[in-house]
Structures are given as structure tokens and as C-alpha cells.
């Protein structure tokens, strides 16, 4: 089910888990607001990771923890430090892309 959500003066479509369903609606203010909702205060390193996963998404590369570890952007330990609670879910939510379906 898709719902409308008001965020920093924008209306975005989200699913029942709060993931955006239309990436074209995303911008950095929305990313920042989604991060705040998920108790993350964004640093340049956070943004580097978000940009990386958005690029992978645009190239249709499925995301996994292993891929993040091999990205050259962050290692797995740092990824868990940047997004402590469910890192891949949180990072994709902030990035405005669908939740990864991978179990690894």
C-alpha cells in the first residue's frame, strides 16, 4: 500500500515500512529529514555511502552487506558504525530506494 507523507515541505510516496516508492521525488533535504527520523545525523561519510548505494540502484546492482564491504567506500565495520541499527535497511530508506531483498 502506498501512502502520502509530508516531509520538509514536500509530499512523498512511501510504503507501509516507510520506504519511498518513487525515487524521482527524492532530494537531499528529504534524505536529511529521513535520516533524522531514523536517528542518524548525516556526515560527509554518510552521504558518500548514500551516493554509492543510489548509484548501484540506478545501475540495477542488487545490494548486499558483502557488496558494501567491497565498495571501497566503507568497510563493513564502519558501515555498522555509521548506521548502527539495521544498516542496509536504514541506508536505503534514507537514500529513497526500495528495501533490498537480499538475505546476505
Amino acid at each position: 500500500m502506498i501512502m502520502l507523507k509530508e516531509l520538509v515541505g514536500n509530499t512523498i510516496d512511501v510504503n507501509e515500512e516507510g520506504f519511498m516508492t518513487d525515487f524521482t521525488q527524492w532530494n537531499t533535504q528529504i534524505g536529511e529529514a529521513l535520516a533524522t527520523e531514523n536517528e542518524i545525523s548525516m556526515t560527509p561519510k554518510h552521504w558518500e555511502v548514500i551516493t554509492y548505494i543510489q548509484t548501484e540502484y540506478k545501475n540495477n546492482v542488487p545490494l548486499s552487506i558483502r557488496k558494501i564491504g567491497k565498495s571501497g567506500v566503507v568497510d563493513i565495520k564502519e558501515f555498522y558504525t555509521l548506521f548502527p541499527n539495521a544498516p542496509l535497511k536504514t541506508a536505503t530508506k534514507i537514500a529513497g530506494i526500495p528495501k533490498p531483498v537480499s538475505c546476505i
Binding site: 563493513i76 555498522y80 538475505c103 546476505i104
Partner: protein
């Protein structure tokens, strides 16, 4: 209830070293961390082979006594069959982006999964701590492991 039935921590006991069991254990532990759930693994009995430096890269799937292989037991026992089945399975897993055992252990450790070796099983197999992976968090008794699992929302799983 305060915790509303939420799973907060998974305590997984791995007692076998057949590849399918080892991977089940690793995927469950990693999957827990990915969901923000704490995870700890207790390696006991043959499960110790999954963290033994000289053995962990040579684990096999079971072709004998495994009805889901759909292979006559006599055939499964022939020389080379187990190795062949194992290499076929490893190829399939690589396609799914499943890391090899050593890399998976590094991922688990980096993801914050605590890994413990069972003291009794170590004594039984005459293993020393230096025989095991450097990522190991320590050697525990069963009592210590239960203590690790204390708290609301902890679940234990035996593989």
C-alpha cells in the same frame, strides 16, 4: 509486555560442520545483524571445524544420509562424489553472492556477531585457541554462553 515479543538477540549453537549447516548458521546470524538484532554463535563439537584455521576451507556438504540429495546412499559414498557435490554447490552459492567460509567469518565479525568456542569440545578435540580464527571472541563453558544470552527478547537456536 515491555518487549512486545520482539526478537532482540539470537544465540545460535552450531554443532555440525557440514557446509549446509554452517551456511544456515552464518546466514541466520548475519541476517539478524542486518535487521538490527544482536547475534552470537557458540561453536561446539564438529561445529568447531568451521572456525578451525586448517579445516574451515575444506568443509563439505553431506551426500550420505541426506535424503534431500536425491542420490542413492551407496553412490553418495563413492570417492569424489562428496567433493563434486560440494564444488557444484559452492558455484551456485557464489552466483547468489554467498561468500566463502573464511570471508563470511570476517563479515560476521565486522558486523558485530560475537563468536565463541565451546571449552568442552575444544578439550575433547585437543584444539588450542591458536588453532582457531583470530576473530574468535573467546572460549566459553555452556554456563558462560547462557549468561551471554540473558535479557528479554533472546532466542536460542541449535543447529
Amino acid at each position: 509486555m515491555e518487549d512486545q515479543g520482539q526478537v532482540k538477540k539470537m544465540m545460535i549453537i552450531l554443532s555440525k560442520a557440514t557446509l549446509e549447516n554452517v551456511y544456515a548458521c552464518f546466514v541466520l546470524a548475519n541476517g539478524a545483524r542486518m535487521e538490527g538484532i544482536q547475534a552470537e554463535i557458540f561453536f561446539t563439537f564438529f561445529g568447531l571445524e568451521a572456525i578451525h584455521q586448517k579445516k574451515l576451507e575444506h568443509l563439505h556438504i553431506a551426500t550420505v544420509g541426506n535424503p534431500a540429495m536425491h542420490m542413492p546412499t551407496m553412490l553418495g559414498g563413492l570417492p569424489g562424489v562428496e567433493a563434486l557435490a560440494t564444488s557444484m554447490m559452492k558455484k551456485e552459492m557464489e552466483k547468489l553472492d554467498m561468500p566463502p567460509v573464511r570471508e563470511f567469518l570476517e563479515i560476521l565479525s565486522a558486523s558485530g556477531v560475537k563468536m565463541w568456542a565451546c571449552k568442552l569440545a575444544m578439550d575433547m578435540f585437543h584444539y588450542k585457541e591458536e588453532d582457531l580464527i583470530p576473530e574468535l571472541d573467546g572460549v566459553l563453558t555452556v554456563g558462560d554462553f547462557y549468561k551471554q544470552g540473558s535479557g528479554v527478547g533472546t532466542h536460542m537456536l541449535f543447529i
